[in-house]
Symmetry: D2
Subunit: 150 residues, 4 copies
């Protein structure tokens, strides 16, 4: 089934976001880097650095959740009109295989989008295998009406 | 409905884990601290420090996912026989309200447990409100049989 | 954590729904019967009749999904103002044990409720065991404004 | 990302299941009909008959849950060795649009499969739109070892 069509696509926002790594916060800690943005599709990478490997030798599963949550939170912005806000309402993630090295590449796709809400699916690959699959809901919040000038 | 009863409870493991903060990894970055462990019940805290607040002024939602994932990954150990291993198979989380300060307190409860699998529910409170609700599945993996001595 | 408090409770609606079995539809086919309604809490029963037992001797798991979905769809009505509408946006269900006889009793609880949305948890018991656990999201839709009289 | 490859494909089972409608049970009530089976892929149809339309004029959402659950429960059989058993452990479904007529066509795909477990995604289309998206986990249970002959 085809993805929905999108009325809006903020190319400038997309250009600004690609390749950037935050200087602060959990996305900075995990070196999350968006590498591609198209209408309704976003790719984000996370390098599996030694810092996030546990004693057992695998990456803490929580890192994959943050990666999925980050895709869910950013994929909406370029396809909403200016001033709109997207809140991740919920998501579900299946962790499919342990990760211990290389790069995690998450690809998100907006599968459905109404005025109120969007449903996004995310696949995460690592070393040629699928390591996580997520499905989540984003609530679209319109900007507050400006007060009438007096 | 009552929680399941548990045949095993590793009190020493529990004592060792309470109050400890990891020196490395995403749980260290987020200052995750387990404050209470009973059979089938575990409480874990995360302080909402400035480092994890985004430009908009709220905590990155991914931090709540890590917190829930961390509870899911640790709650199983004290109630499994030695040598067993628990793998977080999947979870679903609803994010209920933005978080911007104070302490997040996650309480996990094993709702069902068989030889193969457990289902855990987690509630996260912040500043007197419920801010996240999660439900997840943990797969119980028995230790590999030791090779016969020759 | 306490459930939210509710501004509205439509006692008449509750009285009308209790004990009634639909004459048509999948809830009628499954003999779904609401037995208790309080603000933010609803109990619904499903008898495990021979008709819904498969060749293997267990109830088709889909019946538990319908039961959970039905609770999610009805629990909202008595606590919303007249004219409001609740749409089940999504839910997740863990099936915990096979069911083959007796009565399934589903208890739903609204765990969180804003102007826009509610999160509901549901437990299903059968023969003294927990057999399903669900968590879902309901979107609250206000009535359409009436056109101005001319 | 490609689906997994499958070692087994029981073509006879597939042929026997295609086009058949059960004589009993909730799948019979909903006229569920499998129309296509390939390794790791299964299509199942549900006609939106008047019987399952509620007073409001839409199909009871629970019918979509049963359809998804049914796909999850049947997609595993042709790709498991004889004697194996698949138990739907959990699934999550997003309901995307109201359904009131025509045919619901569910397409399931096994996205990941290990010895222990498989993750399946399901899309349901109706009247040219996506109306439900589901993701679920199936636990693979090996046959019990036969007792030694005496």
């Amino acid at each position: 089934m085809r993805s929905p069509t999108f009325d809006t696509f903020n190319e400038k926002w997309a250009e600004r976001m690609i390749g950037r790594i935050s200087r602060k916060g959990i996305d900075s800690y995990l070196n999350l880097k968006i590498t591609s943005i198209e209408p309704g599709r976003l790719v984000c990478e996370m390098p599996v650095v030694d810092e996030i490997i546990t004693n057992i030798g695998n990456m803490h599963g929580g890192c994959l959740s943050v990666l999925c949550d980050h895709v869910l939170g950013t994929i909406m912005y370029p396809v909403m009109p200016a001033g709109y806000w997207a809140a991740t309402t919920e998501f579900k993630v299946n962790l499919l295989a342990p990760v211990s090295k290389g790069l995690c590449v998450a690809t998100g796709e907006i599968m459905s989008m109404s005025k109120r809400m969007a449903v996004v699916q995310i696949q995460v690959e690592n070393e040629g295998r699928l390591v996580a699959l997520a499905q989540g809901t984003s609530t679209i919040v319109p900007p507050k009406p400006k007060p009438m000038p007096t």
